[in-house]
């Protein structure tokens, strides 16, 4: 369009710029002068009123609509190694007293969110357990102390240091009470205090003590060590109450070793044989081939009898007269002798006399040096029960000037802690470095809270020649300070603990050749997290010289153990989940069902089926009664749980509960069994054989169990098992082969289908689960909870049978052998065989859930996964009903940001707890279904990483959280389309087929519920027991 250059005037006035016109030119209606803004009297005009009202209404409604402010603050300068959405991994070390695991910490945007095992560690070899997995949540625990305190008042570090330096100097005798300290630098830091203050003594105890073994080593060999054990070398394992897979010394290590001896294949159809003699049904007992329930008072005699049986064979002199006749004990002796040199006998007893006999048995069998190694001892338990109880009386007598509790809680977790509680005030100075104001810290004058281990520098020496480091993975959340740095400060050493550790590692650097400068050496150690050297050993261990004579021990055993119990006996045990109770304020551990009892959120008295029958007690859906337990002068009311396998006449009670000052989650849960213990015999005895009274009160109670049906009802389409002998004859022994009749012929179920089937042209993810390797430890369940932001629902909702776990471990007891009717099959045998079956979404190729969803919220992926689209889900629950494995979980309530669940689901309710959430996984809304995704976020991340590097995904690039956590490698994940993958090889997948339904040649591999042909992508391997014949 042409530009119009013409100018138009409104009239001559404008052309002439008439002053009168100009004056009114800006007015819309010059003739009708607008009403003035202000009326004559100054009040607002109607228009103004309307304008103001309009503005106010708009402003008010806008303000009301304002979205809550969510802070997302960008970096001004991006840190070099923090990339949004890209995780960083740091090698570190988990240590809680003597419990040890070398770990790799996953951090996202500077927050640790997941703990995996460190595969480079020669000790834990990438294994973890439930406590290690859950420990990341303890970092974000609201109960943690946020800064130092003096006499209950918040203080600053400078004033605390000033006061303490002078007070400690004036205190006289200073005792540093610790649990086992694995860290050489920590011990050096304590020594620094000794250098400054003179009379400083470190007193070590362990909440779950193995003092008996170290004491026995001293008695028998003259050197106070805890040997290392090699379960993988043992062809025959005999354990007297040692729960080495669940809680004894270092279960992560033992589980890995044990599983190596239990993995079988056609090429190597051999496995260790495991005898267990115990009172409570432990995780280890559940895995044993032959398990004999014995009373606590028989324990010592049983060990002695075994000694005598072996000694007879060896031609050595026997000791003691009272020989027990126990089922399988003679058989165990025969087999031990037949395999001598490659066997292992362990005992969980804390009685040094019993442990002396165990040492002697291993010595007789020639196991020492092979399966029992005193030359390379471990340092997990340095506690000295007798010194500790002596210390309590010294403190009580006022002979201690200052006491420093270094990350320990003896008021709660030392037998006789009550006496300590009263005695603390008698010390002039009392200090605690605990992260939380626990039972002990609540009684001291000075709180100098330590960092969480994920915020700390530290070093560890778990075993002779083995070292590891921990490094901070987040800057301290609170105004806490590394305890060792506090020690150095008080000792007048101003160097940081980091420098102090490095200084301590100089000899190691000097002892190696590969690295030229210390920094490279340090970086390499820090990167790997572990280092192996002999440079730090002060002197070579002397050759062992066994005392040979055990008559003193034998006579001590003879006098303190009896073949027949005189009354009820209480065996105090450690749970796999809660452990010693240090991490009790962690809801993940409470929600984790106990591997054996499947109970959550409680401790309880385990009683035998016979006792329950005699007392007219039965349990239905966790409904039970309370009982009063009296032992060692202490009385409790605890609920009763009927436990098949419990030795008649014995009762079990777990440690770790009854916390009073742990935090919101743990306080008031259960009873504190430590109160029943004491070190009266010179060691803390966990077996109370005298003066125990137990009576039902009749008060009703419900224990929240995730599984209330005990047996698998003889259903071979669920559990398929065989004995080793049968397996050697026929690799498919125990397999159940359903067949479907059609048109005059029998077909494998997979050969008949309505569906045209899927094609997986790229990947086909699958999971193989070896039921022979699975020990039921539940590390996978916690790992899954962490990885997938699975909500914790609390006791009431578990009672309502609504736990959210994506992976569960089904624990089945065998029925009595004579059982034929359904009613009898429902009953567990008195001493049952136990089978563990990890159960998660089976990712069926013909998934029954997918067809029934009305809105296609659950679909099949092109890689064989069954996927949930939470956003699309409307929550009809039809999929869950139609799931034959019952692995789908529904969000019955809003579990996040809901005050009803704030007390239990801390990871999804408070700001601090939410830091642990995995940003790659949605927190599910109320009303939607969820289930195992086979860690699809990890699969995606692995594929993206491979794509970035322009290569195919290799086997091992991607692994699912449960498989990573598994200490026994019972779960193997991989691409079934890749013939080189471990899972393909394990299953012996026939050809490089992209068909959905894979033909596998491994005879042990089976699908649970094969006959309904849902065709899962999860395979199970038959359970093989190393028994002579099928017998319970």
């Amino acid at each position: 369009m042409k530009e119009n250059k013409k100018t138009y005037w409104k009239g001559l006035e404008q052309l002439t710029n008439d002053p009168e016109f100009v004056k009114n030119a800006d007015q819309e209606f010059p003739g009708f002068t607008a009403k003035k803004n202000q009326s004559e009297d100054g009040a607002s005009s109607r228009r103004d009123f309307l304008k103001m009202m309009g503005f106010s209404v708009a402003a008010a409604s806008l303000a009301a609509c304002e979205a809550p402010v969510r802070k997302a603050i960008p970096y001004v300068n991006k840190p070099v190694d923090v990339n949004p959405s890209i995780p960083n991994y740091y090698a570190s070390t988990f240590s809680n007293g003597g419990d040890y695991a070398s770990v790799v910490v996953k951090t996202r945007e500077g927050r640790p969110i997941k703990i995996d095992g460190n595969k480079l560690s020669p000790i834990t070899q990438g294994g973890t357990n439930a406590i290690v997995e859950a420990s990341v949540l303890s970092l974000y625990d609201k109960a943690r102390l946020t800064g130092p305190q003096i006499n209950g008042q918040a203080a600053d570090w400078a004033s605390l240091d000033a006061e303490l330096s002078s007070k400690l100097a004036a205190a006289g005798s200073i005792k540093v009470v610790t649990n086992t300290v694995l860290s050489p630098s920590t011990e050096r830091a304590i020594n620094q205090m000794a250098e400054r203050f003179g009379d400083v003594e470190q007193i070590t105890y362990d909440p779950v003590s193995n003092y008996g073994i170290t004491r026995a080593s001293e008695m028998y060999y003259g050197t106070k060590v805890l040997p290392s054990y090699q379960f993988e070398n043992a062809k025959v394992i005999v354990s007297f109450g040692a729960d080495f897979l669940g809680s004894w010394i270092s279960p992560i290590v033992f589980a890995r070793q044990y599983s190596k001896g239990r993995k079988i294949s056609k090429e190597n159809p051999n496995m260790s044989r495991h005898f267990q003699f115990e009172s409570n049904l432990s995780l280890t007992g559940a895995n044993a081939d032959y398990r004999t329930p014995i009373t606590a008072s028989q324990n010592g005699l049983a060990v002695l009898t075994l000694y005598n049986l072996i000694a007879q064979k060896a031609g050595a002199s026997t000791a003691g007269a009272n020989n027990l006749d126990l089922a399988h004990l003679k058989k165990a002796a025969d087999e031990l002798w037949a395999n001598r040199g490659n066997t292992l006998v362990v005992s969980g007893s804390n009685d040094p006399n019993v442990q002396v006999v165990v040492h002697a048995i291993n010595e007789l069998l020639g196991n020492v040096g092979n399966t029992v190694d005193f030359e390379n001892p471990v340092h997990y338990r340095k506690g000295d029960d007798s010194r500790m109880s002596q210390f309590v009386s010294e403190l009580n007598a006022g002979r201690v000037g200052a006491v420093i509790f270094y990350n320990c809680n003896p008021v709660y977790d030392f037998g006789g802690g009550q006496a300590l509680a009263e005695a603390i005030s008698k010390a002039k100075v009392s200090v605690s470095t605990s992260e939380v104001k626990n039972e002990t810290a609540a009684l001291v004058q000075y709180l100098a809270p330590d960092h969480h281990y994920l915020e700390s520098w530290n070093d560890f020496n778990p075993k002779k020649g083995m070292y590891s480091l921990s490094q901070p993975t987040i800057s301290p959340l609170f105004n806490t300070r590394q305890a060792q740095e506090s020690f150095l400060k008080w000792a007048g050493n101003s160097s940081s603990y980091y420098d102090f550790i490095r200084e301590g590692w100089q000899p190691m650097f000097a002892g190696q050749q590969e690295m030229a400068d210390f920094q490279s050496f340090w970086d390499s150690c820090l990167h790997d997290g572990v280092y192996q050297t002999t440079a730090m050993e002060e002197e070579a261990t002397e050759a062992l010289s066994p005392a040979g004579d055990i008559s003193a021990a034998a006579s001590a055993i003879g006098s303190s153990y009896k073949a027949q119990a005189s009354g009820p006996e209480l065996v105090v045990y450690t749970k796999v989940g809660i452990g010693s109770g240090t991490y009790a304020n962690n809801p993940w551990l409470h929600e984790m069902p106990d591997p054996i009892s499947k109970a959550t959120w409680d401790n309880y008295l385990t009683v035998s089926q016979k006792w329950a029958n005699d007392n007219g007690l039965s349990m239905k859906e966790g409904a039970t009664q309370m009982a009063t337990v009296t032992a060692n002068g202490v009385s409790f009311a605890v609920p009763v749980l009927i436990q098949p396998g419990q030795a008649e006449g014995t009762f079990g009670l777990a440690l770790g509960y009854g916390r009073t000052s742990a935090g919101r989650v743990a306080d008031g849960l259960g009873v504190n069994a430590y109160a029943l213990l004491n070190a009266g015999k010179g060691y803390v005895s966990y077996d109370i054989t005298e003066g125990v009274e137990i009576s039902l009160t009749g008060e009703a109670y419900r224990i929240a169990q995730t599984q209330t049906h005990q047996t698998y009802m003889g259903r071979d389409f669920v559990i398929q098992e065989a004995t080793l002998g049968e397996y050697k004859e026929d690799a498919s022994a125990g397999r159940y082969h359903p067949e479907i009749y059609k048109d005059g012929e029998f077909y494998k179920p997979s050969k008949i289908s309505l569906w045209s089937g899927h094609k997986y042209s790229q990947h086909h993810w699958g999971l193989a689960i070896d039921m022979n390797s699975c020990i039921g430890c539940a590390a996978c369940t916690v790992a899954c909870q962490v990885e997938n932001n699975v909500a914790v629902v609390g006791k009431q909702e578990v009672l309502n049978r609504r736990e959210m776990a994506w992976i569960r471990i089904d624990r089945y007891y065998s029925s009595p052998e004579e059982a034929t009717s359904n009613k009898e099959l429902e009953q567990a045998a008195d001493n049952p065989e136990v089978t563990f079956q990890p159960m998660m979404c089976q990712h069926c190729n013909n998934a029954p859930c997918e067809t029934v969803c009305p809105v296609v919220a659950t679909t099949h992926s092109s890689e064989g996964l069954n996927q949930m689209t939470y956003n699309r889900c409307i929550g009809t629950r039809y999929c869950a009903n139609n799931c034959p494995y019952k692995v789908r979980r529904f969000n019955w309530f809003k579990y996040h940001d809901n005050k009803d669940f704030a007390g239990v689901n801390t990871a999804q309710n408070d700001d601090l707890g939410k830091m642990v959430l995995n940003p790659d996984v949605t927190v599910r809304a109320r009303g939607v279904m969820e289930k195992c995704s086979m860690c699809v976020q990890r699969i995606q991340a692995g594929k993206l990483a491979a794509k970035r590097e322009k290569r195919k995904v290799k086997d091992g690039d991607i692994n699912v959280a449960c498989a990573v956590a598994c200490p026994t490698e019972a779960l193997v994940f991989g691409d079934m389309n890749d013939p080189e993958s471990r899972v393909s090889k394990m299953l012996k997948i026939e050809e490089n087929s992209t068909e959905a339904i894979k033909e596998v040649n491994e005879e042990r591999a089976y699908h649970v519920l094969e006959e309904i042909n849902v065709s899962p992508n999860v395979w199970y391997f038959t359970k093989i027991r190393n028994k002579d014949k099928n017998e319970a």
Binding site: T711, V718, P854, W892, I1012
Partner: protein, 454 residues
């Protein structure tokens, strides 16, 4: 004109004339509410109010307010749903199938039965809606509507989706059928009324003029709708049964379900019609219209359908045994002797044994016995659905997941809500709409004897 035998029992007794019919039935609509009716309404509204609390709690807090759990994902919700849908069956059966079969006795009861159907289907439809975790989106996403998510459709494989279609179709057809039938009667009331009432009934009667052509069209539409509705009688419960039959769960995965469910639905529907009619005839003094003859005929339907249901139960057991499938066998043994044995035996007693009493003429012509047994049958049919849903789910394949289901107060409350709604709606209907189809009843006055016409 039909030739009728003078010995045939009259369908309407008391020597009613056309005028009597109009008076007797329109009287209820025109008169003041009776005390009994007001009391009934008060109870119904009270129940509705109490039930609303449970409904609000469910919507506000979540499905967790119910007793459901990880293994039992449906219990009272779907039990109630199937139960109400079943009850709704009688209306269509009576009005459509019996119309096609020229069963004239149906005219006295079809109106109320159809109303019952409509209200029962509304009650039923509530459950699929509120049993969803997220009903606020589910109510929309369960429909095949165009959307902005690309080509995101509903899953046509899902029996739940079939339910959506089945129930909504059934509801629409039943509603239209019922309303069409009401039009001539509304017109009758309109013609007798004055003032506001005349305006309202005038509007409701769609300008009915009573001309021969109008009647002809009315008859044709009724027949067409009856033809359309007849397959629905079979399809609705067939499709509801597919929810179970197409699944893999032992106790659900059964091909016998469609006929068995349809028979059960008619069974329970007739029982509910009887319950309501026995009360209505008494309260509204309609004994001449709803006679013992009607009741007896309905009782015969109950014997037949009850026996079909009984055979179905036994067949299921036979099939479970014959199949050789261990899980299936266990599911059925568990029904009889498992923890929910009482539900199973309640079902057997109420549904199979008690209707057999109707073989005795004395019992099937006794008002009191019929009333009690009609209640028993409905209790039994509720248990049947409970047995199928809960006892099948609570112990399926993997014993590790076996659980018990315990209802909560909210479960009970939501069920009460539907009762409150149903009876409120039915009482309002009984007061403001003619409970008996006057026009059709008039057509059968002559069928027994010419003498009845004065």
């Amino acid at each position: 004109m039909q030739v009728t035998s003078p010995v045939r029992e009259p369908l309407v007794t008391g020597g009613k004339t056309y005028k009597d019919v109009t008076n007797d039935i329109a009287r209820q609509v025109e008169g003041k509410p009776t005390v009994g009716w007001l009391l009934g309404l008060a109870v119904a509204l009270g129940t509705l109010l109490i039930g609303s609390l449970a409904l609000v709690a469910t919507l506000w807090e979540g499905i967790g307010m119910w007793g459901l759990n990880k293994t039992v994902g449906w219990a009272w919700d779907i039990t109630n749903f199937v139960w109400w849908v079943g009850i709704g069956h009688a209306g269509t059966l009576i009005s459509a199938v019996l119309l096609l079969f020229r069963q004239k006795w149906r005219t006295s009861i079809n109106r109320a039965a159809e109303a019952m159907t409509i209200f029962a289907v509304i009650c039923a439809a509530l459950f699929p809606l509120i049993h969803m975790g997220r009903p606020w989106i589910g109510a929309i996403w369960a429909l095949p509507l165009p959307n902005t998510y690309g080509s995101l459709w509903v899953n046509f494989n899902s029996p739940l989706l079939w339910d959506v279609f089945a129930i909504s179709t059934y509801f629409s057809v039943s509603l239209v059928f019922w309303y069409i039938g009401l039009i001539p009667d509304f017109a009758t009331i309109r013609d007798r009324a004055t003032g506001l009432r005349k305006v309202i009934y005038g509007a409701l009667s769609f300008g009915w003029d009573g001309a021969a052509r109008t009647w002809m069209r009315y008859e044709s539409v009724s027949l067409i709708l009856a033809g359309l509705a007849t397959p629905l009688v079979l399809s609705v419960h067939t499709i509801v049964s597919f929810d179970f039959a197409t699944s893999v769960i032992p106790g659900w995965h059964t091909t016998i379900f469609p006929p068995y469910f349809v028979a059960g639905a008619i069974f329970s529907g007739f029982a509910m019609v009887l319950t309501l009619m026995i009360v209505t005839r008494k309260v509204f003094k309609l004994e001449d219209y709803i006679t013992i003859g009607h009741i007896e005929l309905m009782n015969i339907v109950i014997i037949i359908t009850g026996s079909i249901v009984g055979i179905a139960y036994i067949t299921e057991f036979f099939m479970a045994w014959y199949s050789g499938v261990a899980a299936e066998q266990y599911a059925f043994v568990n029904r009889m002797f498992g923890p929910y044995w009482w539900a199973y035996w309640s079902m057997m007693t109420c549904n199979v044994i008690s209707p057999q009493l109707f073989w005795f003429k004395k019992i099937r012509t006794s008002i009191a016995a019929t009333f009690i047994l009609s209640l028993v049958v409905n209790i039994g049919m509720w248990f049947e659905r409970f047995v199928i849903i809960v006892t099948s789910l609570h112990r399926d394949f993997l014993p590790s997941s076996w659980v018990m289901f315990y209802p909560t107060i909210t479960d009970v409350g939501v069920y009460l809500f539907t009762f409150g709604f149903f009876f409120t709606a039915f009482l309002l209907f009984a007061k403001f709409f003619p409970v008996i189809n006057m026009a059709e009843v008039k057509s059968v006055l002559k069928s027994s004897s010419e003498k009845t016409i004065k």
